[in-house]
């Protein structure tokens, strides 16, 4: 066992640290100081801020760290990607934008796309000149994703697509989408799906933002009405789209960046527990609160070392096993518990949200608390993940749900 990083990775870490020390000075005050009100999350100002910071990261060579150089990446190792995520989170710096494009759509095109598609799309994903979203879920295809109904009819050199997508995160400012469509309605449902790339600005595409329980609009409904998609935008073989969507990809599996972010939340909770008082005593002296905070501290270390185990497997070239899934499941459920506990610490102040001058840290905690309820639904519900762990990891029989 060896927890250390090589000199090459440590040199890269130093480069990141130096860069952050210099460039984080340019971040607006609201980024550092929770008591200064920043732009609202779904505002155009916030989108501009994300693009501005992304460009700086990109110019410094910190976007697409383990992407090949020919597509605009750094061509560095997986571990260097891990080091970057770790440092970014440790410094509490903003990350790159276009996460879905960089983490999901790009790697899919890289693995299954044509040379022409790679040249056309990959560089602009990294620069965030083109923002990507994902058109998978539908009103009748959530957990049962293979049940999609959006129909693509073969017209020779193109398809005509009709249907509806839903929960499309970032759809309202995206330029392109990865899309699953039904091309063979008579085949078994997993075998009649094709993977296409959709121009979100094409005629017949209508995007309608949905409002979430946080009050914000991050995701959308997307309506497709006789949308023409050229066959040059098909990824992989016809009717093999399901396997392409499921086959993705060489992600960084450890989630180390996310782990450090959770660790930051625990630190913030400790600070909160010291500041909040009940009956004249800081909450950090309450034995029950101490037990809970200690448990959270244990939990972030569970996440960390489960991440290291997943990373070890990946570095040894093993296929992703159920330990990747349990790590992910633990992470999202932990975030819900952390945010819920923050509300508990705040007592009556937990009721105050952004806009109240008495809200703690302008209601950021309240936003995160409400947003965390989505964590166990997005990217597959926790129930679906448990099914996968039981069936793929433990070999229990597949069955009707």
């Amino acid at each position: 066992m060896d927890f250390s990083y090589s000199p090459k990775e440590e040199a890269f870490r130093k480069e990141i640290k130096d860069w952050l020390a210099e460039n984080m000075k340019e971040l607006p005050r609201w980024w550092f100081d929770p008591n200064v009100l920043g732009p609202d999350l779904d505002s155009p100002e916030m989108h501009q801020f994300n693009l501005w910071w992304h460009k700086k990261l990109y110019n410094a060579g910190f976007v697409g760290i383990n992407w090949p150089k020919e597509y605009g990446g750094r061509g560095a190792t997986l571990l260097e990607q891990v080091v970057f995520s770790e440092e970014l989170a440790k410094h509490r710096a903003p990350g790159p934008t276009n996460g879905l494009g960089i983490g999901w759509c790009g790697p899919t095109i890289m693995s299954y796309g044509t040379e022409e598609q790679k040249k056309r799309f990959l560089p602009k994903i990294l620069t965030a000149e083109e923002i990507w979203c994902q058109g998978f879920s539908e009103p009748e295809a959530g957990s049962d994703l293979a049940n999609i109904k959006t129909r693509a009819v073969d017209q020779g050199d193109h398809y005509i697509v009709n249907g509806q997508k839903v929960w499309t995160s970032g759809g309202h400012y995206s330029d392109w989408a990865v899309l699953m469509v039904r091309t063979d309605p008579n085949a078994p449902k997993h075998r009649g799906i094709t993977y296409l790339l959709l121009d979100m600005h094409a005629p017949g595409v209508t995007v309608r933002p949905l409002r979430q329980m946080t009050g914000h609009s991050e995701f959308n409904e997307v309506f497709l009405d006789n949308v023409k998609i050229s066959k040059s935008l098909q990824v992989g073989e016809t009717n093999r789209g399901w396997y392409i969507a499921m086959g993705t990809l060489e992600f960084e599996r450890s989630g180390i960046g996310a782990t450090v972010m959770r660790e930051n939340v625990v630190k913030d909770l400790i600070k909160l527990a010291r500041e909040m008082k009940r009956n004249g005593e800081p909450l950090s002296k309450d034995p029950v609160i101490r037990q809970k905070i200690a448990q959270f501290y244990i939990d972030v270390n569970v996440l960390k070392y489960t991440g290291f185990r997943a990373l070890t497997g990946q570095l040894r070239g093993e296929r992703p096993g159920p330990e990747t899934l349990v790590g992910n499941l633990f992470g999202v459920e932990l975030n819900q518990r952390l945010q819920d506990f923050a509300m508990h610490l705040q007592g009556p102040y937990s009721r105050l949200v952004r806009g109240s001058k008495y809200a703690i840290e302008h209601g950021d905690w309240q936003y995160r608390f409400l947003r965390s309820r989505g964590n166990t639904i997005e990217t597959g519900t926790s129930e679906i993940k448990r099914n996968l762990i039981a069936e793929r990891g433990l070999g229990l029989p597949r069955s009707g749900r």
Binding site: L315, L329, N387, A390, L396
Partner: protein, 378 residues
């Protein structure tokens, strides 16, 4: 960066598993439940021959010179089969204390005998109040020339009947600081005045005793570590024992999961295997998750102890709290998924269930360790 077992460690694991599956079948466990000593001397000898008893002792003391992390691999395998043996008492408690704080003469005298299987040790720390705090140590040792005389009662002592030597924590001085004035003695268990009476135990595979010491003389040369300075040694021993218990718990928990999953695949209800019901799948997935998380912390803790890392104490506290909770949860669900059969004496599930309880409360339960963690956070 590599957080996994080496090839040699994988081999150790495989050979330990094969050996224990063969040597410690169900019938052996059932026999040992009824046995007062709680172990088989034949099997103990075989373990000595394999080099297990001296695994981490330096070669000059008859050991194999391997690392603590290697030792935890054995503990994991022993936990899987609930091996009834004084291994934990002898190697982790006695051997580790001598290795950590013993004099050269003590190491030369005892470690080779432990390694060869000729000396069984145990540790007597806890008393009436049952907690691992310095305040709890009240049993008195009084100086009388070139020896001390011990009087008092220890409780929750593992394997005392099997032991040839009892490492006894005694109060030799009273000061305002309870950590001061505790001394560790090697007591010959065959000494007249040492009496071990069995405690009626829930976990029948790890025997516990109350041990009374009546005017027991111990030569000064049998003091382990400094006079009055036994507490830090005990903390070191407890740290290693807790890390080893974590390995034992993860091993046991994984076996419970295997038994339960295979039952869920075979047991038919409403015409289908119960493992096809989502409610059973989710329980199994959670058991699997809990064990994966426990393993992550256990391996980290074992490695921290192995490397004597500065954060070893916090790492072990985290692992001990988590593994205890995980093992209990896995056994709770294991019994539930088995239904009535899991509630019977004949099924092995209750043996794991009871071990989970006895291991969780040994060397600090979850609440104890979480409070230590809270203190470390300031």
């Amino acid at each position: 960066m590599d957080f996994g077992l080496t090839e040699e460690q994988e081999m150790l694991k495989t050979s330990a598993r094969d050996f224990l599956e063969k040597e410690c079948p169900r019938a052996h466990i059932r026999a040992m439940m009824e046995n007062e000593l709680g172990y088989s001397s034949d099997l103990w000898k075989k373990m000595a021959d394999l080099g297990w008893l001296g695994l981490v002792f330096p070669e000059e003391y008859g050991g194999a010179g391997m690392r603590f992390r290697d030792l935890t691999i054995l503990c994991e395998e022993m936990g899987r089969v609930l091996l009834p043996s004084p291994f934990m008492s002898t190697v982790l408690l006695g051997g580790m204390a001598l290795l950590t704080a013993g004099t050269e003469e003590q190491k030369k005298e005892f470690l080779p005998r432990i390694a060869s299987g000729d000396a069984i040790f145990t540790l007597a720390v806890l008393e009436e109040d049952g907690d691992f705090w310095p305040e709890g140590i009240q049993l008195k040792a009084v100086s009388r020339g070139d020896e001390y005389v011990i009087n008092g009662t220890k409780s929750f002592v593992w394997d005392a009947k099997a032991a040839d030597y009892i490492l006894c924590a005694a109060r030799t001085k009273r000061t305002a600081n309870p950590e001061e004035g505790i001394t560790l003695f090697i007591v010959d268990a065959k000494e007249w005045g040492v009496y071990a009476s069995p405690l009626k135990n829930m976990d029948l595979l790890r025997k516990q005793f109350e041990v009374t010491f009546t005017n027991v003389p111990v030569p000064n040369k049998n003091i382990v570590g400094e006079l009055h300075q036994g507490w830090p040694v005990l903390q070191q021993v407890a740290l290693k024992a807790a890390a080893a218990l974590c390995a034992e718990m993860v091993g046991g928990g994984e076996k419970v999961l295997e038994i339960t999953v295979s039952y869920a695949k075979e047991r038919i209800a409403f015409g289908v295997p119960i493992g096809s019901f989502q409610v059973i799948k989710h329980k199994c997935a959670d058991m699997f998750g809990a064990l994966e998380y426990a393993r992550s912390l256990m391996e980290w803790a074992a490695l921290s102890v192995d490397e004597d890392a500065s954060n070893a104490a916090v790492a072990v506290s985290m692992a001990k709290a988590y593994c205890g909770d995980a093992y209990k949860k896995v056994c709770d669900e294991g019994i539930q998924i088995h239904g009535g059969i899991g509630f019977t004496w004949d099924h092995d599930m209750h043996l794991y269930f009871k071990r989970a309880r006895s291991a969780d409360t040994a060397f600090g339960d979850g609440n104890y360790h979480r409070e230590l963690i809270a203190q470390s956070l300031g």
